[in-house]
């Protein structure tokens, strides 16, 4: 916390301290935008370093907040800073930071930072992150929606950054249209919830619904639209159509910006609106999530098998992985008993974090193999990586086995935690369905491993990667193993954060 800010602004009777990280980010992003204007093309690295420093600054502020472990509401209850928000924000910074490291060379090679384009890539990335932070900390439907829009609008622009690239432009159009539609759904649902309860404040909505003092029919209608909007943003089946096209069409760096960190924000949005706001309606939204989860697992896993483009394959794999996040979300309440809630939601949270870390690494490797004028987008481009670069072959192998859920990788513990939550509610058939689809999923992850290790080298050109990216990729891979072997503290942090969020 920043004591100076605290004293100067307390006169306005609004406590700004919980927003320190956000305020810092806004100021820093604007400053970077200005500084970047005066930088020559060759000096773009300054923008890059400043952006990373901004992330570090945010991390320091949030880390202090996280360690304090308190829950603070501010801005008339519109904004909350609690351990869950802080933990998710820390991983969001990490995800965005790693993305920037991975995509620096890649984006520069593709003219996304030259010509009449400056360092907008970095600034827009920071703005998406600001949107995510507001989504994570929003305690009122409006800020959550505003955060969502801030994130989405920045992402639309990012996807469209390669203006002369037809596929990117197509992806941007698709993303924009479908994303707006989803936002519309969401807003419509929010308005219905407002109509039913007369409030946009999450805490008030929770009180009113628990007391039964709201129009049930309208509330349920609103719920359907909200869940549909969220499913769009998450990319759950049947609202997943945009995912493969946008993942494939966007420049890979941008794919990572919209594929990794936003999932954490979407997860937080689910927790805030569905769990904190509408937990009494759990029996209704759980059924919707059930359908979404099973369909996502089925369609994601089965369709991924047919892909030869690795970005598309990872897109479908994302859909399947999110199915698991949703599975955890629907194991919180059984028979109107929410005793299991913290455990189940924290399992989902751990799964989301796991997903983000593995996704970062896998797209990072896709970017590593790409070079100026060449996209390593086909699975076949990974042929014989084990001979070209044994270390990165091991990293990719670790990531693929993590996605498949094989110990000792992180993905195993995540799957385990979610399955445990599902089994403890007695939904055995669901656990078995999830497990069987994981088996199908293992096939296409194994195929990537096979391409890396068993196939002969086709493209023997040396891999030239900047040092920062090498270090980040290696750490990324090590982290996925380390958090698989020693998952204790992160699991515990997720659990206590979730317990505190549910308790307040």
């Amino acid at each position: 916390m920043n004591p100076m800010m605290n004293t100067t602004l307390s006169a306005a009777s609004i406590n700004m301290a919980p927003l320190s990280a956000e305020i810092f980010l806004v100021v820093a992003s604007c400053a970077i935008l200005l500084i970047d204007m005066f930088l020559k093309e060759g000096k773009r690295n300054i923008t890059y370093v400043l952006s990373l420093l901004t992330l570090v600054g945010c991390a320091v502020i949030t880390w202090a907040d996280f360690n304090a472990g308190t829950t603070t509401y501010t801005f008339f209850n519109m904004f909350v800073s609690d351990p869950m928000a802080n933990l998710l924000k820390l991983f969001t910074y990490l995800a965005v930071g790693i993305t920037l490291v991975y995509s620096r060379q890649y984006s520069a090679d593709r003219g996304m930072m030259s010509g009449n384009m400056g360092g907008e890539f970095y600034v827009l990335a920071l703005f998406t992150m600001l949107g995510q932070m507001i989504m994570i900390s929003g305690n009122n439907m409006l800020p959550i929606y505003l955060g969502l829009e801030l994130m989405s609008l920045s992402l639309y622009a990012l996807v469209a950054m390669r203006r002369d690239h037809a596929i990117s432009t197509e992806a941007a159009m698709k993303y924009f249209i479908l994303g707006s539609l989803a936002s519309g759904f969401m807003l419509y649902g929010i308005s219905m919830v407002y109509g039913a309860t007369g409030s946009l404040d999450i805490t008030t909505i929770a009180k009113l619904t628990a007391a039964g003092a709201s129009n049930q029919t309208i509330l349920k209608f609103g719920l359907v639209f909200i869940v549909a909007g969220m499913a769009f943003k998450l990319g759950a089946v049947p609202f997943h159509m945009w995912v493969p096209d946008v993942y494939q069409g966007s420049p890979t760096g941008v794919t990572l910006l919209l594929g990794a960190a936003p999932k954490l924000a979407s997860f937080a949005m689910m927790i805030r609106i569905l769990v904190e706001g509408l937990l009494p309606m759990a029996m209704h939204w759980q059924q919707m999530l059930l359908a979404l989860a099973v369909l996502s697992l089925a369609v994601g896993n089965l369709t991924a098998i047919a892909q030869s483009n690795i970005k598309r394959m990872l897109a479908y794999s994302t859909i399947a992985q999110l199915g698991f996040v949703l599975l955890g979300m629907m194991a919180g309440v059984s028979n109107d008993n929410a005793a299991n809630a913290a455990q189940a939601y924290s399992a989902s949270m751990y799964y989301s974090i796991t997903y983000v870390l593995t996704t970062l690494g896998s797209f990072g490797l896709v970017m590593m193999l790409a070079r100026s004028g060449f996209e390593a987008e086909e699975i076949a481009d990974f042929k014989g990586l084990a001979k070209r670069s044994p270390w990165y072959a091991i990293v990719m192998t670790v990531l693929m086995f993590s996605l498949a859920g094989v110990p000792p990788m992180m993905g195993f513990m995540a799957k385990w935690a979610v399955l445990q939550a599902v089994v403890s509610t007695g939904q055995y058939w669901l656990a078995i369905v999830a497990v069987l689809f994981s088996l199908i999923g293992a096939f296409y992850y194994l195929r990537v491993v096979k391409t890396i290790w068993f196939d002969e080298v086709v493209d023997a050109s040396p891999i030239s990667t900047p040092v920062d990216m090498r270090v980040a990729l290696s750490l990324n891979g090590i982290l996925v193993v380390l958090l698989g072997v020693m998952p204790g503290s992160l699991l515990q942090a997720c659990l206590s954060a979730m317990t505190q969020t549910l308790g307040s």
Binding site: P408, Q420, Y428, V435, L491
Partner: protein, 501 residues
């Protein structure tokens, strides 16, 4: 949570982690340009990893009940998961066996593997540590952790160093076993919830369960272990994996990996679901007899030597599962002895085939004939191991088979009689193969150019031959250490766990 280490130094942890650490070092510093150095490093690693397993059997108390060399520490407190290691008579011998076979594998690859040496050696060292982990884990999740993790190095070994159809074999191996163990995962979670949040396998043994629960849990575990053993009809991955795998891969598969399944029956299925085990025993016995007789017949008609030995492994493992499910001491002991002996014998048979394959690049029986004329030392070894494979008295193969047959006759005369046919079938396929490959006139000009065993090959086959004969002549060290644990297990299994009404 207090942590316990009952012996210092912690031999079990060393047995598990030394090979893994050495494997990582080999992967990190090994280069094809420094292949010799890589090999020496791997050999040092495997020998050093073998050392901590020696005190396990020299200091093991044959009369003590329960796990020995226990190490216990909190691992993942959120789920009450422990790093809990310990061995009893059931698992004791598999630890040194695994470490020992790893040394043999490293030696066997010395001149054979010339490309990607570090990856080959590193994978085997890591695999060795993971497999030992399976045998010594007393925490359910820790067991599963190791059990699943073994798939990764084996998948790489088969896929990278295997034969022409290796990709198919590697996928089949991985997906088959992954399928089996995923259902086991659900059973493990069920047991965890049922026992009030505990992963202690020994606590699961005491957990009362209804018949329905027991049957479902038994079947879920069966999926994993039957695939691994492998039992008929889920055995089809094994011949493919064996044929395609490099020699070392086949040796480890046959000598150790199959035993993970057999061991799983003893540690999980029988004691956790004793009533279901009794109830479903006839099914297992029938499946085992099918493996013994039908697979024995299948082995006889194979044209590929590796396939023949692979099918013979399935038949021998049928003996093991038969021994476990007739519920008498001699049968269960015989099953375990058979597993240990099979570790030596099948490993040695695959090494013999490897020796021939390195020279002729063929595994077809028809391509050979009269090898004895050119390779007398080799011929002596292959005859010995073939004899051991068909259970000749004074070799280790005899002890286990004899004990299982004795137990089976005690259990039911006809079961015993059917099981005993294995001796005839085993003799038929093993000796007939030896006859066609080793004896007779020199088959063709390639055979005429064969060179006999070199020192390295002689050493590894010699050591295995000594062990095979030693175990056949004097099995007491092995059987003595089993007795208490097997008696305790059978005592436990004979008491119903159904809740009292």
């Amino acid at each position: 949570m207090q942590s316990t280490i009952s012996t210092l130094p912690p031999y079990l942890s060393l047995s598990v982690w030394l090979p893994i650490i050495f494997g990582m070092i080999v992967l990190a510093v090994g280069r094809d340009s420094k292949a010799g150095f890589t090999r020496v490093l791997a050999l040092i690693g495997s020998v050093v990893s073998f050392l901590p397993t020696i005190p396990l059997f020299t200091q093991f108390s044959n009369s003590a009940h329960g796990p020995q060399f226990v190490e216990k520490a909190a691992w993942i407190e959120r789920f009450n998961i422990h790093y809990y290691l310990g061995i009893d008579g059931l698992s004791l011998w598999f630890v040194p066996l695994t470490a020992f076979i790893t040394i043999i594998v490293v030696i066997s690859a010395w001149q054979v593997i010339e490309e990607r040496v570090a990856q080959y050696m590193g994978s085997f060292l890591i695999l060795s540590g993971l497999m030992i982990g399976v045998f010594v884990a007393l925490d359910g999740l820790l067991f599963y952790f190791f059990f699943e993790a073994t798939l990764i190095p084996m998948y790489i070994i088969i896929g990278v160093f295997g034969g022409p159809n290796r990709v198919y074999a590697a996928f089949k191996f991985f997906l088959y076993t992954f399928f089996g163990s995923l259902l086991t995962l659900v059973a493990i979670i069920y047991l965890y919830n049922k026992s009030g949040g505990s992963f202690d396998i020994l606590a699961w043994h005491q957990l009362p369960l209804t018949m329905t629960e027991q049957v479902l849990i038994f079947l879920a575990f069966l999926m994993a272990f039957a695939v691994k053993v492998p039992m008929w009809p889920v055995h089809t991955w094994l011949p493919d994996a064996h044929v395609e795998a490099p020699t070392g891969g086949s040796v480890v598969l046959a000598a150790i990996m199959l035993k993970l399944g057999g061991y799983g029956f003893l540690r999980f299925s029988l004691p956790i679901a004793p009533d279901a085990s009794h109830y479903l025993a006839p099914m297992i016995i029938v499946l085992s007899l099918i493996a013994v007789i039908y697979i024995g017949l299948v082995a006889m008609v194979q044209k590929d030597m590796k396939k023949l030995v692979a099918y013979s492994s399935i038949a021998h493992m049928g003996f093991v599962t038969l021994g476990f499910f007739i519920f008498n001491e001699i049968g269960v002991q015989g099953g375990i002895v058979q597993m240990i002996s099979h570790g030596f014998v099948s490993g040695a048979m695959f090494l013999c085939i490897g020796v021939l394959y390195d020279r002729m690049h063929s595994r077809e029986i028809a391509d050979y004939g009269g090898v004895v004329n050119r390779m007398p030392k080799f011929a002596a070894f292959s005859v010995l191991f073939a004899m051991a494979n068909c259970g000749l008295p004074a070799t280790s193969g005899f002890v286990g088979e004899f004990m299982v047959i004795l137990g089976a006759v005690k259990f039911n005369f006809w079961t015993g009689l059917l099981a005993a046919t294995a001796l005839i079938l085993g003799a038929a396929y093993s000796l007939w193969m030896v006859k066609r490959v080793v004896f007779g006139k020199v088959g063709n000009k390639h055979v005429a150019e064969l060179v006999d065993l070199n020192g390295r090959e002689f050493f590894m086959l010699g050591v295995l031959a000594i062990l095979t004969i030693y175990m056949g002549l004097y099995p007491a060290p092995f059987t003595d250490s089993l007795q208490v644990s097997v008696a305790d297990l059978l005592q436990h299994v004979s008491v119903s766990k159904l809740p009292m009404h």
